[in-house]
Subunit: 306 residues, 2 copies
Amino acid sequence: MVEPDWIAVDWGTSSMRAWGIAIDGSVLFSVASDRGMARLAPGEYPAVLTALVADHLESAGPRRDVVICGMAGARQGWAEAPYLDVPVALDELLAGAVAPVPAVGRLLPRILPGLCQRRAGAEDVMRGEETQLLGLATLLPDFDGVVALPGTHCKWVRLAGRRVEGFSSAMTGEIFEILRLHSVLRHSLGGEIDPAERWRGIAEGLAAGVAAPEKLLSQLFRVRAAALLSGKTPSWCAGYLSGLLVGADIGGQQSALAGMPVALIGAPELSRLYAEGLKLIGGTAQIVDASAAVLAGLTAARRAAT
Amino acid sequence: MVEPDWIAVDWGTSSMRAWGIAIDGSVLFSVASDRGMARLAPGEYPAVLTALVADHLESAGPRRDVVICGMAGARQGWAEAPYLDVPVALDELLAGAVAPVPAVGRLLPRILPGLCQRRAGAEDVMRGEETQLLGLATLLPDFDGVVALPGTHCKWVRLAGRRVEGFSSAMTGEIFEILRLHSVLRHSLGGEIDPAERWRGIAEGLAAGVAAPEKLLSQLFRVRAAALLSGKTPSWCAGYLSGLLVGADIGGQQSALAGMPVALIGAPELSRLYAEGLKLIGGTAQIVDASAAVLAGLTAARRAAT
């Protein structure tokens, strides 16, 4: 068995993932679990980690670094890793990993901090995305522009080389979910999805959102009214709702994006949606896979420390 | 016992209210129930109505008109009263009451239609508010401007005399509720409310929403971040969330409001919130009580038919 040199971990709110990394940087194994922060008490992290990686390690092997990013470092997580304040150089990430995590058998965990922005009126926080940003800065060292990280809370980040100047979190993904599950719009969204019809809705929603992001509250109700009056299908309505929210998210950033290169870090389908929306304001985005970014970031953070 | 000449009913989604009206127009009694459309099958309406008003009527009295507005006329309601298309003169409301409702004992129910706007890209519907608009047009016959009817779905209506030119529904109230109950923001909102602190949050939220309605998705996350980083209290956060949503709703209407008189029909506290927000864009609003408006509207609709 080839043994990993160290272990990389992305520990989020609803799930976690760990990779065994060889001394040459190649990935030896990848394991995942749905035991995210939301389903764990602080004392349960060591056992979850050990159970996941045990099969891949010799029991009498050497001590190994475990570099962890994400919600494991939140106050309700494994151990609090206090935020670093922006503006900040991302190389400080591992230096900032002060979380006092005791060794777990032969594993030596270190938890990376998140970032915060304390400026009154623009308070914001992130945990996990900072490591993806460090990864992006490693993969694209000359990048100087805006990075969008779509998801539950889409982060828009001004990144210059390895320096984070500032950022803003939009509740785009979470609002989609709670509208879909809990609002009057749910009556117009159920059932099986026809992909072509859904993309027609997405295109119309993106255009409406980008054109008038200030009218989001009223454009949302159109999902219901268009189903009642114009016989729009649930597939169209689901697409329109996604497109409208993403379009309004992009439209709200338009002045900050003017003339800037844009990079997207996210899951493939969501990144495609944002890329389509950015086209509508004349932008093109470089797309970076989220797993590749977080692995590159954890690797860079460990290298900075050793 | 003074017997009513007719009965006015506002039958909404979550509740209903009925008034007994004397021949001189005075209100003889008012009764209410939580049996709104959401809690009723179509066949249950007659019994609910009868049970509510029976104590106030002589069993051998004359036949009496019952004029009903609201969700009782929806497809899932008592009997469908098809929408009238805008632009429309509000006098057509009772002429449009084609819902085939059989007599209920000695009661003769008529259900008023809602309004719809079929223009592609601006589809919209209302049920109940059209009657409040008719009431406003009766109480303020020279009104020519924009009427805001805040609530679960805030309606913004271009009204000229008794003519509705067009309208737009914003999901402001419903989004407040689902964010409060189901989103990550709920962690920052619980507990007892301090009114002064809440109004400080409202003022800050109104200003932020009116100034940049296109940034609503990211300004919402500030509720959470400001609680984490700046120690904002749950009272402040609850106020900021209300103010931000109302401010963004008003900000999104700013171009349509330019120079127009504005009237507000709603519950007192919500109307005050909208009035404060309108002040920030240099507007002043005439406030009309929602119950007074619906009663005046039902009265005018009945008069038009008899």
